[in-house]
Symmetry: C2
Subunit: 324 residues, 2 copies
């Protein structure tokens, strides 16, 4: 069985031999730019690892792996327009580099091309793969819409927030894992379990992402601490604090990032003081651990030899220990 | 065999029973708005007529018909952002009504939902249908990109222009017809022919659209004559004139719509005078006839009884005699 690095090398090799049309240049060049712009290839790696864990032929799963990566990059192109984000993976976003119209249309083409890639899965599994891929893709759109809704809404419960990150982030991991399992001929029951494994893991990952932004080290995060606080972003820390804080403290949470009298350092420490007062960082850390442990515990219940799940265990560990 | 009106009624009935999720509202409400906003249902009608012409079961083709209509409406949502178009079918566009982010994301969901609908075709034909749908969808994006490129380019040949309208408009008709034929169990050869029929018809339709805007009557066009000229749009009339006019006349074509000293009437008649000087309207009319005749001639070569093609003949006639 291949380890994560070997799987990744196989995937990069497959991606490199995909030949997109050259013309019209403004349509296809941004796609190549986006797909070759790095990224950790988390979703295709998981898909391929899941396939191999069940004894499947990784070669048969490569088209689906490329499809989920193409789909993921499509969402980034359109999200960057909606978020007005000029930088992606340390380079100008497609939106910044080519403008909005190109980012819309190239994104559309990527979405469609994801289905073109998906068409390459074994034909007897195509219908089942589409039954995973398409609802998953719709859920990602739903998650993005809830995320935008929440930015303008005064009151969001922690349950609504968790549902949003599940849709926006986790279902894509979960669907990837499940597609890999299907192509690897896993049983129905194991397909559902591997879906659940990746879903829990995805939530843990997203919660940790928020936690690190305020409580990590710069080395862990790969950028300066406190960015989310300075942007007034509605992270899980913020949601958790808002649902437990006094009216007075909620005011601090709502307004601190906008206060022109405060330095960045003061803003960060003032908000974190409220988080600490309500034990938010520990609560979130407990939620992360709980989700992570649930995820890896599922691996032990799969109907395959324990050594076959070793790489999925490593994948989970790597994901949570990420450095940008 | 059902006539066009009966086919259309069947389709509207099928569309009406599709039940989209209710939440998130900002994602799904614009989809319902767009899909129930009228439109002539040209593509699904053609798909269903083609299916029935070959003796297929129209019920089996309804999901694909809904998919092409959903796809077509998706392109309108995103095109309206790119063109900054505030009105669509006499109502505010989704872009105007909900803003750009909603139009992007709801459009994305429509594109994905088109594949959800496509999944409803008979499973033994799913792979073949996807092999028509996905390349067709990519070509539509290519056509839209060429269209945007041409707006900023000084020199576009008539051949490049024809290629653009073929991609942007005709391949969607052609692919629709071919999918209907495949579901109707037409032979490979007839599938290719019906594709060609719809492709030629689509080009004729698009050329006539341009022609009517300058040379039609207000009644035929459903709006005031000369809109394209006032916008300085690069129509087939403009392309044809630009490739034959003297440098001096080309200057008139390029600059008239921008001249603040001229009234709208003067702008229109000045540009049309150049068109007339180079016999552009007749040239375009000849091109329209030639394409239209090629299209209907193909119907006679199909490997089915002539009376089975009657509704496709009527479809072609109706399309070219359209009133908005």
């Amino acid at each position: 069985m291949r380890n994560n690095d070997e799987i990744l090398a196989l995937f990069e090799n497959y991606l490199a031999q995909i030949s997109l049309p050259k013309e019209p240049q403004q349509l296809y060049e941004p796609i190549i730019y986006s797909m070759s712009g790095g990224g950790k290839r988390i979703r295709p790696t998981l898909l391929l690892l899941a396939c191999e864990a069940f004894g499947g032929d990784v070669a048969e799963a490569l088209p689906a792996a490329a499809a989920v990566e193409m789909f993921h990059n499509f969402t980034l192109l359109h999200d960057d327009i909606m978020d007005n984000a000029l930088v992606r993976r340390g380079k100008p976003s497609v939106f910044a580099e080519w403008g909005e119209n190109v980012a819309i249309l190239s994104g559309d083409a990527m979405m469609i091309y994801a289905y073109q890639l998906l068409r390459g899965v074994p034909e007897d599994k195509l219908a089942r793969i589409m039954d995973i891929f398409t609802p998953m893709a719709l859920q990602v759109c739903e998650g993005q819409q809830y995320d935008m809704d929440f930015e303008h809404s005064q009151k969001v419960s922690m349950a609504e927030y968790m549902n949003m990150i599940e849709l926006k982030t986790s279902v894509l991991l979960a669907g990837s894992a499940m597609m890999g399992a299907v192509i690897g001929n896993a049983s129905e029951s194991d397909c559902r379990k591997i879906y659940r494994y990746a879903l829990e893991l995805g939530v843990a990952f997203q919660l940790q992402d928020d936690w690190l932004d305020s409580y990590g080290t710069e080395e862990e995060l790969g950028k300066r601490i406190g960015g989310d606080i300075l942007e007034g972003k509605k992270t899980c820390l913020m949601q958790q604090a808002m649902s437990h804080a006094s009216e007075e403290d909620r005011d601090i949470l709502r307004t601190t990032h906008l206060d022109p009298a405060l330095s960045e350092e003061e803003k960060i420490s003032r908000v974190k003081a409220v988080y600490d007062k309500y034990d938010v960082p520990h609560t979130i850390l407990r939620m992360i651990s709980s989700r992570f442990e649930r995820a890896v515990a599922i691996l032990d219940t799969l109907d395959i030899n324990k050594e076959r799940t070793a790489h999925l265990q490593v994948f989970a560990d790597n994901l949570m220990d990420r450095k940008k």
